[in-house]
């Protein structure tokens, strides 16, 4: 009798252990949906597809990319927030995700609290691009030129509170110019007006700026990251040219709905980090001037918090309206 009890409890614990380990090994046991809150073809989409392709090879489960564009990225993010927190619906989010709460009065979700933070994927600097005929060949002289013509000059950004706008306003203040921000529907049309000498400069993504820069249609005066970009190592950073403490990078991270169990978050995080360390992924990102940046879950969470508070502070300082 006693033995039987012991046996049964022993069996039970084995079953428990087994099922636990099965549950562990089994994630993911069905296709995972990766939401891209933008139209296909943008930088978020490209990063998500590369990541999804490699994750599905790793897991042996398809990773389905679903584009849910609209209202900045709020439509897709609202959708993610409303899904089951089982790790089977995750989303790519960029730096913009942490900027929007600082400038949008009303979002259909709480960006800080309605999401589980899973992993950082990679980052990319922006580039200060000017027309080839601009009246200076280096950033320092160029800033002098900007200061010398108060009340006359304009630069292009991609919407109020976009990363390009934040980057421009912070630079404007740092160099003491009164240059006027003008908004465009995307980096490409802004760049076109820089080339056509309608506006002075645009601080655009390296992805977009590199091709015309390499062809000499745009002059690259500086990059916005703390260190030089490997894709264009000849361009100095803004810090090097005397803009102290200037660091703004575009980044992409992975989020899920609030309340995904910790072990699943960790599984997702380590699978993603495994992909980030492959040379295939590194090369894919390098082509667009970006680098992978693996982070643990707590690191990424701290990174998000820091971003949220930075943008709220900057929006206040620069008087970017809510």
């Amino acid at each position: 009798m006693k033995n039987l009890t012991r046996l049964s409890s022993c069996l039970a614990s084995i079953v428990l252990l087994l099922s636990a380990s099965i549950a562990q090994a089994a994630f993911p046991d069905k296709p995972i949906t990766l939401i891209v809150p933008f139209k296909p073809g943008g930088s978020n989409d490209i990063v998500a597809r590369q990541l999804g392709k490699q994750l599905s090879a790793d897991w042996g489960q398809p990773v389905v990319i679903e584009n849910k564009p609209g209202a900045g990225s709020d439509v897709g993010s609202a959708y993610t927030a409303s899904q089951k927190a089982d790790g089977y619906t995750i989303q790519i989010a960029s730096v913009t995700f942490t900027m929007r709460p600082a400038i949008i009065a009303k979002q259909p979700f709480d960006a800080q609290n309605d999401f589980t933070r899973i992993a950082l994927v990679g980052q990319s600097p922006l580039m200060l691009g000017v027309r080839p005929g601009a009246p200076a060949d280096n950033a320092k002289d160029y800033f002098e030129y900007l200061r010398s013509k108060p009340g006359q000059l304009s630069y292009g950004a991609t919407g109020v509170g976009s990363i390009q706008h934040f980057a421009g306003e912070i630079l404007r203040k740092a160099i003491g110019s009164d240059i006027q921000a003008v908004q465009y529907k995307g980096g490409a049309p802004a760049m076109k007006d820089v080339m056509g000498d309608h506006i002075e400069f645009s601080i655009g993504s390296l992805t977009q700026m590199l091709p015309p820069y390499k062809a000499g249609q745009i002059k690259g005066l500086a990059v916005t990251s703390a260190t030089r970009s490997e894709s264009a190592p000849e361009i100095p950073t803004l810090q090097e040219v005397g803009v102290d403490g200037y660091e703004i990078v575009q980044w992409w991270g992975i989020l899920g709905p609030k309340g995904i169990p910790g072990d699943i978050v960790n599984t997702l995080n380590s699978s993603i980090n495994k992909v980030l360390k492959t040379s295939e992924f590194k090369e894919a990102l390098a082509k667009k001037g970006s680098t992978p940046r693996p982070m643990s879950v707590p690191e990424f969470s701290a990174w998000m918090d820091k971003n949220f508070s930075t943008w709220i502070r900057v929006a206040k300082e620069q008087n970017i309206k809510k």
């Binding site: 073809g41 209202a71 900045g72 259909p108 080339m195 056509g196 091709p211 062809a215």
Partner: protein, 503 residues
């Protein structure tokens, strides 16, 4: 010569069996998607995009290009047969194409638009080969001031497209402008006239407006008037061929349309939609029988179709040479290249001439496929019109619903179609025309953006815009057109005044 060397490089790539195959598949899928109401070229490209990730980059672009112009072409089929425009450019084809079909000339209309597409497309490709550098320089000259000026001109020109009094045309443009205000304001990030619907943060979608105003309202009218009547359509090949007179009337509009399309296509942001409207307005102005427009004038389909396809081709110029996509569809295609690790841009022509010229040549081959594929299909399309209308229209309604719903799986969009269907029915009952409303809706946001941009750049000095040669000239032309139109409003055409005095 360089050009011939380029053509040879291009041909070499384009006629490889794999590229030929995918070009054909792309054109076929594009035509198929385009014919379905509610699925325009952008939706078609987005649907096919994931498939192309497994292809070589050149092949991927060849296929997506095929889908793009195939869908633009297929859209005209639905416009002519059922008054269902899938893209803004197709809306213009509705104006005269649908009346032609109702007169029993659907075969002729479809055949001639195929020809116009082909000619426009071919001329556009020639421009792509020969004029790329000039066109790029030209596109860069256009800043916010110039864009504003040309769009204002387009708006005023659009108002004169109507049959009736210009005041009613302008009123419809104005209504379109007001509807276009809905959505997030770019300059300040404030959502406007969105009535608390997150679905309206990006404005009303073109598809819901076009399907409602053109499609649903047309069905409500036709259900009653078309009872028991099937359209009497001849389906012989001979009936598709134009008469000598029709052919004579087609050639000049087709060439003018290609010119207009080639010009606007190269301007990023304007592209095919404004090109087709301007092409149409020009034909109506130069025609010696403007009263036939809107009632099935063949000029009214030739010019816009030719302009559309020429613009589609030249829209690749800024995309491929500057890395600046001219339209949402172009942006998706650029994204497709970038997913393959190729950055479209100026150095593409130098580093990968096989891609650049291969794609360009494949467009031309794709246009031939369009001819081959579609001329035999015309007979099939016409047979759709032979289905008794009371059996046809419920199917069309379901197609509209599914097409619109598929756009972002939202019942809200169907509700919008319904709203615009009812608005369209009321306005058309009052003898207002829908085309000017649509152009107001499309151009309105662009007018606003560019005006506000220009005013910021010039620090509120409107004269700075007038002093620039291109924008100044365009604004001057607009003023003349507007004065002429005002004159027409106050002193309407003789027959009305004469009738008035005779009581």
């Amino acid at each position: 010569m360089d050009i011939f060397a380029n053509i040879m490089i291009g041909l070499d790539t384009a006629i490889s069996p794999v590229n030929l195959l995918y070009c054909f598949i792309g054109v076929f899928l594009g035509t198929f998607f385009g014919v379905l109401p509610g699925i325009g070229s952008l939706a078609a490209i987005s649907m096919v995009l994931p498939v192309t990730f497994y292809l070589e980059p050149t092949t991927a672009l060849v296929m997506l290009g095929g889908v793009y112009y195939g869908a633009e072409y297929g859209g005209s089929t639905a416009s002519i047969l059922l008054n269902l425009p899938g893209t803004p450019s197709n809306a213009v084809t509705c104006i005269d194409g649908y009346p032609m079909a109702q007169k029993g000339k659907a075969g002729l209309a479809l055949f001639m638009t195929t020809i116009a597409s082909y000619v426009g497309g071919t001329l556009g490709i020639i421009a792509l080969f020969v004029l790329s550098p000039i066109i790029v320089a030209w596109a860069l000259v256009f800043g916010p001031a110039e864009y504003f000026a040309i769009m204002i001109l387009g708006l005023v020109a659009a108002a004169t497209v109507t049959q009736d009094s210009p005041a009613k045309g302008l009123a419809m443009v104005c209504l379109g402008l007001l509807l276009g205000c809905t959505g997030m304001d770019l300059e300040t990030g404030v959502p406007r006239f969105e009535y608390e619907f997150i679905e309206l943060y990006e404005g009303f979608s073109f598809i819901t407006i076009a399907m409602g105003l053109f499609g649903v309202s047309e069905i409500i009218f036709s259900v009653k008037t078309a009872v028991g009547r099937t359209f009497d359509q001849a389906v012989t090949f001979k009936s598709m061929l134009p008469s000598r007179d029709e052919l004579r009337r087609s050639i000049a509009p087709m060439l003018r349309g290609a010119g207009v399309g080639g010009f606007f296509g190269a301007l990023p942001g304007t592209g095919p939609s404004i090109a087709t409207f301007v092409g149409y307005a020009i034909e109506k102005r130069v025609s010696d029988r403007p009263e036939e427009f809107g009632k099935g004038a063949i000029e009214g389909i030739m010019s816009p179709e030719s302009a559309n396809n020429a613009a589609v081709q030249t829209a690749f110029i800024p995309t491929l040479t500057l890395g600046i996509p001219g339209s949402a569809s172009m942006a998706v295609m650029m994204g497709a290249l970038m997913i393959h690790g190729i950055s479209p841009g100026p150095q593409l022509m130098v580093e990968r001439p096989d891609i650049f010229w291969g794609v360009a040549m494949s467009f031309w081959i794709g246009n031939i496929f369009l001819l081959v594929l579609n001329i035999p299909l015309i007979g099939f399309w016409i047979r759709i019109l032979k289905v008794p209308y009371h059996l046809l229209y419920p199917a069309v309604i379901v197609l509209i619903c599914v097409g619109v719903y598929s756009f972002r799986t939202s019942g809200f969009d169907i509700a919008m179609v319904l709203l615009f269907g009812m608005l369209g029915f009321v306005l058309r009952s009052l003898k207002f025309e829908m085309a000017p409303l649509l152009i107001g809706f499309i151009l309105g946001p662009m007018v606003e953006e560019n005006l506000r941009r220009a005013m910021l750049i010039f620090r509120g000095d409107f004269w700075a815009m007038v002093e620039r040669p291109i924008s100044g000239t365009l604004l001057f032309l607009t003023l003349i057109l507007l004065l002429y139109t005002t004159y027409q409003i106050f002193f309407p055409k003789k027959k009305i005044v004469a009738g008035d005095s005779a009581q």
